[in-house]
Symmetry: C2
Subunit: 328 residues, 2 copies
Amino acid sequence: MARRTDVAELVAQALAGQPRAVARLISLVEDASPLLREVMAALAPHTGQAYVVGLTGPPGVGKSTSTSALVSAYRVLGKRVGVLAVDPSSPFSGGALLGDRIRMQDHATDPDVFIRSMASRGHLGGLAWATPQALRVLDAAGCDVVIVETVGVGQSEVEVASAADTTVVLLAPGMGDGIQAAKAGILEIGDVYVVNKADRDGAQTTARELNHMLSLGPSRDPDSWRPPILKTVASRGEGLDEVVEALEKHRAWMAANGTLDVRRQRRVRAEVEAIALAALRDRMAGPTGGRRADALAGRVADGSLDPYAAADELIAGLLRDPGADTAP
Amino acid sequence: MARRTDVAELVAQALAGQPRAVARLISLVEDASPLLREVMAALAPHTGQAYVVGLTGPPGVGKSTSTSALVSAYRVLGKRVGVLAVDPSSPFSGGALLGDRIRMQDHATDPDVFIRSMASRGHLGGLAWATPQALRVLDAAGCDVVIVETVGVGQSEVEVASAADTTVVLLAPGMGDGIQAAKAGILEIGDVYVVNKADRDGAQTTARELNHMLSLGPSRDPDSWRPPILKTVASRGEGLDEVVEALEKHRAWMAANGTLDVRRQRRVRAEVEAIALAALRDRMAGPTGGRRADALAGRVADGSLDPYAAADELIAGLLRDPGADTAP
């Protein structure tokens, strides 16, 4: 009973934009709390307003600094801004990344800026499960814009980036061969490209190479979006107004032709599927499912059953006793 | 018909240890081929013999060189050896890793060594789904030992490492702060620790620090396994016999007290669950499931349904029409 009241109160406070309540709700997401079901039901009518910007790029291009500068640029326009800094390489490097976050303290006392580092705890589908729910909290808390910052070096980041309305890919001059490899994947996901540290040697070359690589992609019809390539010096706040301008232009373009709805629908579907898969995984790992899985694994281990046939039996069992493990 | 014959023939050739057939079966795993069901059914009675060694560590410690040297050490003992080099950070860095693999060419002409780089294609649960099935192919092909080499920098690698009978954690002297962070996670998964590049300054310090950190872990009862810390110079093949000795000791210890069976049962259970989850995910994404998911996502997007309630409905639909999307 006390629990129910807590959730209702917490949700009311988060909807009113109280940072501590927002932080606690995101903690519930990180912890995969059983209270989330109630939280998300209460938040649902208040979501769908935030514009979600994904910001990704290889390590060392200045993502945190750029995020912070982008927050400043949006604050000048009076927007309430949320930041989710997602670190898929955790549990190993969480500490280091947090140290990196020092520049964010520029916004530490601004009540209209919510900043949260989030790590996958390695359960329940990880970030694909947690990120959209944390976004939902920031959305319901009245954020006009939410920036999802990820390290762009792997599959999970691509998935996270695909959860955004608009994806900004950040590069920097002179990053060596590593970036060449990274670019291949990164070229497919950017709506806006930014060459940060544009005051350094090689910025022009990087922008030119990028332009060249983008031009090699599939040919675009005249109505389609052509990703702009911008230059910034985020540490001095230079060029960020142009980034905001490009983002707003992309958003307007998407809203006009229906792409925005398509992307949001896709994001919500991925969120629902991640929750459903996590629930099915829980059911498999629960007492009944677990006993069944162990028995089947024993038969596979001794060679009398193959793993596909065992998987069929595992699923058939779930279907036979759908609620067996979910009862309290 | 022709297809059935191909699979049967391919399996027969792989069981006879023909490298090209082994390679093609692992390609089927990478491609998540529908033929796998038939392949795994045919392989099942011939698996369960291989000793699986996981080898992990941060980038730059000499994993490829160590794997190659370990292969040599096992070859001296007359063992048939398989290597699965797993790269979870693909699609972005696959190319680079392959370049790294040059030392493996020492074994390129040895008919009793199977080497395969494997990347997650980002579907069907990725490496958690593919790795155990690729292992199964190498096992059935008569490998006495299979070495699974992974980059130790994230959650998925920990999962892959947990699929091994014995996990070797590789470190090197003077790797800076990055390793300090990595160590925290790595300390929980190693059965054998190896400080490679032991001819370099700082090797003794690294070994001592490691010993200290391991001693801070949960206290062990006298019967439990105490992970040894060994030193190697893999590029010159030094110290590898001692690594093989430690591995055989660990295997014997596990076999004597039942740990080996427990780990294999756990590995098989994870394999079966990964296959079942991938099948459920496929079913969700199939025509019937997809229409249902889109309709639910629309209601969540407009705020009239929360994502948990939508996930419940999605699962209920799967359970109602279990076979709807799996019929040909």
